[in-house]
Symmetry: none
Subunit: 205 residues, 4 copies
Amino acid sequence: MQSRTPAGRAGRPRSAAADAAILAATRAALVELGWSGLTLSDVAARAGVAKTTLYRRWAGKNELVVDAVAELFDELRLPDRGSLAADIEGVVLQFAAILARPEAGSGLMGVVAESTRDDALRERIRASIVRRQKRLVLAGRARAEQRGELPPQADPEAAARTVDLIFDMVAGAVVHRALVSAEPADEAWARDFTRVLLRGLTAAG
Amino acid sequence: MQSRTPAGRAGRPRSAAADAAILAATRAALVELGWSGLTLSDVAARAGVAKTTLYRRWAGKNELVVDAVAELFDELRLPDRGSLAADIEGVVLQFAAILARPEAGSGLMGVVAESTRDDALRERIRASIVRRQKRLVLAGRARAEQRGELPPQADPEAAARTVDLIFDMVAGAVVHRALVSAEPADEAWARDFTRVLLRGLTAAG
Amino acid sequence: MQSRTPAGRAGRPRSAAADAAILAATRAALVELGWSGLTLSDVAARAGVAKTTLYRRWAGKNELVVDAVAELFDELRLPDRGSLAADIEGVVLQFAAILARPEAGSGLMGVVAESTRDDALRERIRASIVRRQKRLVLAGRARAEQRGELPPQADPEAAARTVDLIFDMVAGAVVHRALVSAEPADEAWARDFTRVLLRGLTAAG
Amino acid sequence: MQSRTPAGRAGRPRSAAADAAILAATRAALVELGWSGLTLSDVAARAGVAKTTLYRRWAGKNELVVDAVAELFDELRLPDRGSLAADIEGVVLQFAAILARPEAGSGLMGVVAESTRDDALRERIRASIVRRQKRLVLAGRARAEQRGELPPQADPEAAARTVDLIFDMVAGAVVHRALVSAEPADEAWARDFTRVLLRGLTAAG
DNA sequence: GGGTAAGCGAGACGGTACGTCCCGTCTTATC
DNA sequence: GATAAGACGGGACGTACCGTCTCGCTTACCC
C-alpha cells in the first residue's frame, strides 16, 4: 500500500475500499490466469475500478503483485504444538499450503524473476515479505528458549546470522520442493526436513 | 533440444548451428532484458535467424528458456576438495555463482512462475534441470561413502527420499538466499549452511 | 456567453472575471496546441479556474470554442477608404489577417467540422458568427448606396438573398484561399478578387 | 496511398485489398460518427483489418481522412451542358452534393482544422485535393475557349493566377454556403452565384 | 545431376495488452 | 451555493509482441 492523500486536504480523497478490492482482484486473476496472463486491465475490471485508479496507486504489475502476495504470507502463524520440532513442522505445512495456492506460487516466482533487474522491486520484496516473515523464526526461537529447548544466544550478531540462515533454509526448501521439484511438501516430507534441520541446529559438533 | 528432421528424409535438413546460436542468443537477451523483456523476435534477430526457424524448433518462450537455462546448470561439477563438507561448500558456491548471473536467476524464476499453470512445462523443468542436477547429490554421497564419511545406505527407497530432501535443501537454500532474500551467498554463508546441513545428516539422534 | 447567475439570489455569485479569462485561455491554448490538442483541463488551468467552473458555463469544447472564436471576428470593422472597391479590399484583408492567426483558423474549421453532426452547434455558429458578421455586408452596401455606387434595392427578399450570396462569396473565398489552398490572401489577391466580385455585382447583364 | 513494398522482394507482400477496404471503412465511419467520433480502432474493425495494418500504411487519422476524402472529390466531372454558365452550375451542384454528404464535409473541415498546425498535412491536402481538382477549372476554360465564350489567354502566369482565383471563389463559396452558413446550395443559389461569377470574369471594365 | 520437398529470410497479417491521456462526473473542504 | 482540488469510471490512443501466414530463395537428399 502506498496511498493516502499526500499532505493535507484538497480534492476528493482516495477510496479506501478500492485498495482492498484491487488486491483481492489481483489474487483472483493470478488464480485464473497465472503471472503472465495477469493484465492490469483485467484486474481493474474485476475490482470494479478504472485502470487510472489502479495506476494512480501502483506503478505496475510487479509492485501490485508484491503487495497482493505479501498479504497472503501474513496469514502464517506460529502454532504452539508443544515442542520446537512440532512447531516447525506446523509452520512448514502452513507455508506449503500457501505456496500450493496458485496465486502465491506464480505470483512470488514472477516478481522474484522481475526483481533480478529492478533494485526497487527487490527491496520491496525484502521489506514486504522476507523481513516481515522472519518474525516466525524469531518467535519460534523465543518460545524454544522459554521451553529450554534452545540455549539463549549471547552474541546478537551471530543470532541474526542464524535467523537469516534458518529462514533461507526453511523457506528455500519448501519453495524448492513445492515449485521447482514440484513434489508435494506433505507431512512426511515436513517431518524428514524438520529432523535434519533441528539436528543440524542442536547437535554437538 | 527437440529438433531433428522428423522421421524420414526429404527436404533440406535443419541447420545444426542454429540451435546453438538461438540458445546463446536467448541467454544474451536474458542478460540484457530480463525475463519479461525477452521477446522471441529479438532472440531471432540476435541469432541471425528468422522467427519461423525459431518457432519450428521451440513451442514458445517458456520452452526455449528452460533449455537455455538448463545448459547453464550443466556447468556444475562436484569438486574433490578432500572432505564431504568441503565438497558441498564447493558446489554451493558454484551454484551461487551461476544464480548470480542474471540470465540464470531471472530465467529460472520466470519459467518456474509459468510452470505453475503448465504441466508440460513443469515436467520439462523437472527433467532438464531437477533430475539432471541430482547427479551432484548422488556423486557426493558416493564419494563420501568411499571416504567412509557416510555409511552405505541399505534401503533404496529411503536413499532416494534422502537424495530428494538434500537436493531441495541445498538448491532451495541457495536460490532463496540469492534471489528472494537477495543477500550474497558467499563463503561464510556457505560454511554456515554446510555445517548445519551436515550435522543434520550425520548427527545421532 | 450564457452565464448570469440563474434566476435569483442565493449563494455565491459567479465570478464575472472568469468568463473572460476562460475565453482568453481558450484562444491561447488554440494558438499553442491547435484544435485537437486543446483540452478543457488545460484551458481551466491556464485560466486559473477549476474544471467544474468551466463546465458550469459551457457544455463542452465545441461551444467554448465558438464563443472564443466569435469574439475574434467582432474585431472586424468596415473601413471608409473612399470607394466600395477599396472598402471591400480592406475588409478582405482584415478577414485574412484574422484567419492567419492560428486560433481563428483551426478553431473555426474545428467547430464547423463538428457542426455537421450537431444541429445546436450549427445554429450557434450561424448566430454567433455568420449572422453577426453579415453586418459588414449590410454596412458596405448602405455606404455604397449613399455614395451612389449602387442603386437602392427595392425588393427586400432579393436584397437579403444578395447579402447572403455576397457574404458566402467573400468569406468563402478568403477562407478557402487561406486555409484550404493555403496560399497568402495578400493585397494583390484581394485586388484581383474584389475586381471580379464587383464587376459581377454591377455589370449590366 | 503510400504503400508498395519498398524496393524489391523479400517478405510477404502487402494486401492490395486492404487499402481500399480501409478507405471505404473510413468514409463509413465518418458518416456514422463524424470527424471527432472517428477512431482508428473502429475503422480497422470495419475494414476487417488489424490496427497494425492500418498504422503500417497511414501515419494517423489525418492522413487517412485526407486520402478517404480525396477519393470523393475525384467523382467530380465537368458536364457538357452547352454553355459555360450551365457547365459551371453543373459542377457547383455536384460539388454541393458531395459536401452535403457527411463524410465529405466533416472530413474536409476536420483535416483542414488540423492542417493549420501541420505543414506536411497541409501539403498533402493541397496535392491530393486542391491541385487535383483544379483540373475542373482548366477543363472548363478550355471548353469555353473552344466555344468562343472566353478569349484565349496569352500570359500564362496571369492565366494561372486566374485559375487559382476562380477555384478559390467557386470552392470557397460552395463550402461556406454548405458548411458554415449551413444553407442549401441548391439550383437557385447556384444560378445566382454563377451569374455573379461569370459577369465578374467576362464584363468589360 | 535433376527434381523436389523441406528449410530458410523477410516481413505483412489479425490480435491483444500496454501505459498514458483526456473526458465529463463526483466528492471533499473552503470561501 | 460557487469554488479549487483532485479522485473517479470510462474509453481511445499509438506502440510493441504475439504466433501465423505468405512470399521467393536455397539446399541437400533420392532417384
